[in-house]
Symmetry: C2
Subunit: 231 residues, 2 copies
């Protein structure tokens, strides 16, 4: 089950680090070495994401994928998560937050996104349920930033990398040259402001949503005050 990331790890990133900035020193990685999956399944999901996601969100999702490959290679070399599974997870993690989908349901965006992603993966994989459930579980929990208990490896990697791109945490796990290369390949298009707008939009439509557990003003403030130099 390790290819789907169904192995429990502590959700608290500090527990992995023993007070250090990284487990292994991060290496500068060329974008060409972070290969995008080219299977039929991967292509179908990528096509879907390209059509459904606004460009800034699509590029954010691609950055999160590439960061994750680089971090897994350096920090968790024995994890063996399938790049195709991580690719699907990253490309679909914000699918519930498109303008269309925010209005399509009163569900919190991570929950609706998890359901959409599960259905899509079941469809394009001819019902590979472990694949679909792995992606769904990780998407539902990608803003569940606790410090108690466990999460799947897949979900943990998605949390690490979305926070890296949104809030500027976990930069010790990845070489700064890799961050620059990934951002050159998939430009930010003022991503932090876009994302802050998404937070506002969900809150306006659904003031009960799960994102509020992060503290809406606090979380938006963390995003907008992110000082990392990505490009």
């Amino acid at each position: 089950m390790s290819k789907y990331g169904f192995v429990a790890v502590p959700i608290d990133s500090e527990a992995h680090l023993n007070g250090k900035k990284h487990i292994n020193p991060p290496t500068a990685q060329h974008v060409d070495s972070l290969a995008i999956p080219t299977s039929e399944v991967a292509k179908k999901i990528q096509e879907y994401a390209k059509e459904e996601l606004p460009l800034p969100t699509y590029n954010h999702s691609m950055r999160v994928f590439l960061y994750g490959l680089a971090i897994a290679r350096d920090q968790f070399p024995d994890w063996n998560i399938s790049p195709e599974v991580y690719f699907a997870t990253c490309l679909l993690h914000d699918i519930g937050a498109t303008p269309k989908n925010i209005e399509a349901t009163k569900l919190s965006f991570e929950f609706y996104g998890g359901i959409i992603a599960r259905d899509l993966v079941l469809e394009v994989t001819d019902s590979d349920q472990d694949f679909a459930d792995a992606v769904c579980e990780a998407i539902i929990r990608h803003q569940d930033l606790g410090t108690v208990g466990n999460i799947t490896r897949l979900g943990f990697l998605l949390q690490l990398t979305t926070i890296l791109d949104n809030v500027g945490k976990n930069t010790g796990l990845i070489h700064h040259d890799t961050i620059l290369a990934v951002n050159a390949a998939y430009p930010r298009h003022d991503w932090l402001k876009c994302f802050a707008h998404v937070i506002d939009s969900e809150y306006a439509h659904k003031p009960w949503a799960h994102t509020t557990a992060l503290g809406v003003e606090q979380f938006k403030g963390d995003v907008l005050s992110n000082q990392v130099k990505y490009d």
Copy 2:
């Protein structure tokens, strides 16, 4: 949207209480006054729950429904949640934790339960999406016991009442005679041990599951050391 509970309230129960045990003094309520919905939709969901849930879980779900009616009547008289919607939510909130469903997926039980419940409600209501999404959102978050941010009224009531039956909190919101009457109508059948076993079983199958965010040993301890006299 208030009939579906789609109104945001603070998830922190203390925020509703201003340091008191209740908002209004709880009244002793006869089980007969806590009417079980008899619509076709309610009957179909009740039949489904009766067939799928082990008896101790079915009775727990019925108690949670009756506690909620009593609490809403005394503490939140202006909430106007549809009893049918709350009934469906209660009867299905642990559907992901049956022995069959724990083994059917690697998803956390609340997430799988939310998906099953959403599909079932869509089916029996001829696609009332707000109803289905309300139930799904509440079930996914029913163990999301934070203190920051908001939740739907429906989800809040489900949290209050499941914790009341499992951990013995929130007893100030309900008259003790009502607790006794509800437990006489739907006996506990050693529910605390049953539920502790469910926690263990999910952890054995899925050590990454969302329940671990409550601290598995801590939560199980809180359940097993519940001293409330229910019957």
